[in-house]
């Protein structure tokens, strides 16, 4: 009984990976080709389904859109949002390899430990905080939302900087070097695990919300004390 279970578990783990490794093309035809066209040629708007070509986007963009769950979307007009991907890790890897075979940049390999947090804060403030907010909590832009970066992995951040997903501009190496991206990733990692000395960060929105909460609490306490020590004359 036990060995049979073990073997079944082993097969369940390994088989999809073995099968997935060479099914990138099949997965692409099933899930992507209706909008992105055969061979990543794209489908021009006009019909029911349309989408941008994937030739030249490389593993970099494919990995980003699949890992974040941005793709697949039901319609091209839908704003992509972060969700768990319907594909397994192995399926994503084979899809990424297949789309990468159309040509384009590889997956970047950021090394946040090489970056500097203070430099990252400066670069993030200049280039990212306008939309994502300096605490990386996300925000609004005209025509869309900028996501919070709480769940973004270093690789996803480095990919997004170069790809410019949805409405985000992209940044060339001339604008932000790979070392700059390392610093930005390091800073975002700080915002993901902030050092909340006070114990209660209030979403790290800054001193004004903190002040408001403090005033509300202090005001309540003062009213309570006033009720306690004051009594109506009878």
């Amino acid at each position: 009984m036990k060995p049979a279970l073990l073997i079944a578990a082993f097969l369940a783990l390994v088989l999809p990976q073995l099968g997935g490794a060479d099914s990138g093309g099949d997965l692409y035809l099933q899930h992507c080709a209706s909008c992105h066209g055969r061979g990543g040629a794209g489908v021009p708007p006009g019909g029911e389904h349309f989408g941008p070509p994937l030739q030249g986007v490389g593993e970099q963009a494919a990995d980003f859109y699949l890992r974040t769950g941005y793709m697949p979307v039901q319609e091209a007009s839908q704003e992509p949002v972060r969700k768990s991907s319907p594909f397994s890790d192995a399926e994503i890897r084979s899809l990424v390899t297949y789309i990468g075979s159309f040509g384009g940049p590889p997956i970047p390999k950021p090394q946040p430990e090489r970056g500097s947090t203070s430099q990252g804060l400066k670069l993030f403030t200049e280039n990212c905080a306008g939309c994502h907010q300096v605490a990386a909590q996300g925000g609004l832009v005209v025509g869309g939302t900028a996501p919070r970066l709480a769940d973004s992995t270093p690789t996803e951040i480095a990919e997004a900087v170069r790809v410019g997903p949805y409405l985000m501009p992209r940044f060339t190496r001339r604008q932000l070097s790979d070392r700059d991206v390392d610093s930005i990733v390091r800073y975002v990692q700080l915002t993901q695990n902030p050092d909340n000395r006070g114990g209660w960060g209030i979403a790290n929105l800054g001193p004004i919300p903190e002040g408001l909460v403090a005033w509300l609490l202090a005001g309540g306490a003062l009213v309570g004390i006033a009720v306690l020590i004051g009594g109506r004359e009878r």
Partner: protein
């Protein structure tokens, strides 16, 4: 201009004042018992009214000197406070009062006349009526002028040339924040670049620009700017025309057919400008398009300016350029 305004207002006040001649008291028995004169309080009230006038003048002087706004607020606030104290003193110390115990009646013509008589008689024992009226007039005029003074901030009426001054000259190269020369090849689609004129003070409001590349087929610039965008590269002032924030956001759709069009966005109040049509406002509180800078490509592929901006840089208040 400012002086002309104050003279006009002073004249208006005099004219209106002339129309109101003191009415003759109707004959008959007075309703209000004459109170005792209070020359001391009268002097205090006159002093307060003159103080209010002086504070209003101080406001105008501070405003003309572009002093900080807290001093402006202090002057205006104290002016109103002096007026308030003067009014309260007048009501309690200078005018005799008559309390009518009856419930609020419907006014018969007779009663209405009586109330008018009360109002007129209550000020009868004033010893310095003229001085008081003059002081009140001075306070009112000065306050009115003080409140109208900020109109001068709407901008110069006759000489607007200084609003159009900018450091960009024909042939000046564009450099990035690190001082490196920007080339046309550096400006890729969907990237936003900030640039400055080479060798010029960057604190100048009209120095920073944003540079983006628009697909040439999508360009729809005004007819007289047809040669301002070599290869679809356009440059605009980085200073938002609404409140002078830095236009730091670039809405760069990854796949255009199903997305909002590319736009330059100011992060302060989301004023949104269209780089393809000469910086026209697509959304938000900005009232004017972003001024465009005409560009050309130099012999070595570097971006150069062809002259100054298409319009005044910065938001629509004149003090911003100082």
């Amino acid at each position: 201009m400012k002086r002309f305004g104050s003279w006009a207002i002073a004249g208006l006040v005099l004219l209106l004042g002339r129309g109101q001649r003191r009415r003759q008291l109707p004959p008959g028995k007075p309703v209000v018992e004459g109170g005792s004169p209070a020359p001391g309080s009268e002097l205090v009230v006159v002093g307060l009214l003159l103080l209010a006038a002086a504070l209003a003048v101080v406001f105008i002087v501070l405003f003309a000197g572009r002093a900080n706004t807290q001093l402006l607020g202090l002057a205006l606030g104290l002016c109103f406070a002096a007026l308030a104290v003067a009014s309260v003193l007048t009501a309690f110390r200078l005018l005799s009062s008559e309390v009518d115990d009856e419930p609020y009646p419907e006014l018969h013509p007779f009663e209405a006349a009586e109330i008018e008589q009360i109002a007129v008689e209550s000020g009868q024992h004033l010893t310095r009526r003229k001085l008081l009226v003059l002081a009140a007039g001075a306070a009112g005029t000065a306050l009115a002028v003080a409140l109208l003074a900020p109109l001068a901030a709407l901008g110069p009426v006759f000489d607007t040339s200084r609003l159009r001054r900018d450091p960009w000259r024909k042939g000046m190269r564009l450099v990035d924040a690190n001082g490196r020369v920007l080339r046309a090849n550096d400006i890729e689609l969907n990237t936003l670049h900030t640039a400055f004129p080479e060798g010029v003070d960057r604190e100048n409001l009209a120095a920073p620009i944003v540079v983006v590349r628009v697909e040439p087929a999508r360009l729809d610039l005004p007819a007289d700017r047809s040669d301002w965008a070599p290869g679809g590269i356009v440059a605009y002032s980085k200073i938002c025309t609404h409140a002078a924030c830095a236009v730091a956001l670039y809405r760069a759709p990854h796949f255009e057919p199903s997305r909002p069009r590319p736009a330059l966005v100011c992060p302060c109040h989301y004023s949104t400008f269209d780089p393809a049509t000469g910086g026209t406002v697509l959304f938000g509180p900005a009232g004017r398009p972003l001024p465009q800078l005409p560009l050309a490509v130099g012999r070595r592929g570097e971006l150069i300016a062809r002259g100054g901006f298409s319009g005044p840089v910065g938001p629509s208040w004149s003090g911003v350029r100082e």
